[in-house]
């Protein structure tokens, strides 16, 4: 399979449309014949990442590269950055607003979920400049 590249702009103002890019990625993977476990893992990682871009990053971009051995998701925002990445990786740690919590997110599960479902995750963040999250998911077998 030739490497497929997908690019999405994620609107930081619109919580209702968060998840549209993830839906599209899942649709593409289904069309390419990936197994349901791989599709779900990619969809969860991408979706949690997309939610983070909206609620923390003020929007950003998502780039996804797909070939049969690996799916790479790169999420970039120019938001406030994460002062302590290790702390942010702990389940339950969150800086999300009450509004976000009322919408069913912001419980400190985003980054831990992304780690749980990806094979590799790397987070580069500079306070005041933004955050880049790179995730790699490899199909089983």
């Amino acid at each position: 399979m030739e490497k497929l590249k997908l690019h999405y702009d994620v609107d930081g103002e619109d919580f209702t449309s968060a998840g549209e890019a993830s839906t599209d990625v899942k649709r593409v993977l289904r069309r390419l014949g990936f197994d349901s476990d791989t599709m779900r893992r990619v969809a969860i990682c991408m979706y949690e990442g997309e939610i983070n871009l909206v609620i923390h990053g003020g929007g950003g971009v998502a780039d996804v590269e797909v070939d049969e051995n690996e799916i790479v998701i790169v999420l970039v925002d120019h938001g406030p950055g994460i002062p302590d990445v290790e702390q942010a990786m702990q389940e339950g740690w969150s800086t999300a607003s009450q509004t976000v919590r009322e919408l069913g997110f912001g419980a400190g599960m985003g980054l831990p979920n992304m780690k749980r479902y990806s094979d590799e995750i790397a987070i580069e963040s500079t306070v005041g400049e933004g955050t880049t999250v790179t995730m790699k998911i490899r199909p089983a077998g």
Partner: protein, 114 residues
Amino acid sequence: MLIREIKDILEAKVLCGEDLLDTEVKSACGSDLMSDVLAFVKEQSVLLTGLMNPQVVRTADMMDMRCIVFVRGKEPEQSVVELARQRDIVMMTTAQRMFVACGKLYSAGLVGNS
């Protein structure tokens, strides 16, 4: 269990997906926290929730769920129903509260799978 049986047990009103009521489902989960659904759910195909925003539908879609039940008589905006319709997800609402709705379905044989 068929989705139609869930509708009958919970005396629920179907909001969309009337033509999909004969779909077989084996397990369910109840949560108002979508990140927990994403973290802990494996093969569950029914989501019971009190949340009504579009992210409920997107979460269900990411997890390949087939049916969303709103508890406590909640009804979402039409745009949220439409999102479910586009994804072939059955959506219904019941007057039952979360604990009772889950209990009734569990007693009738729908399991939780951990």
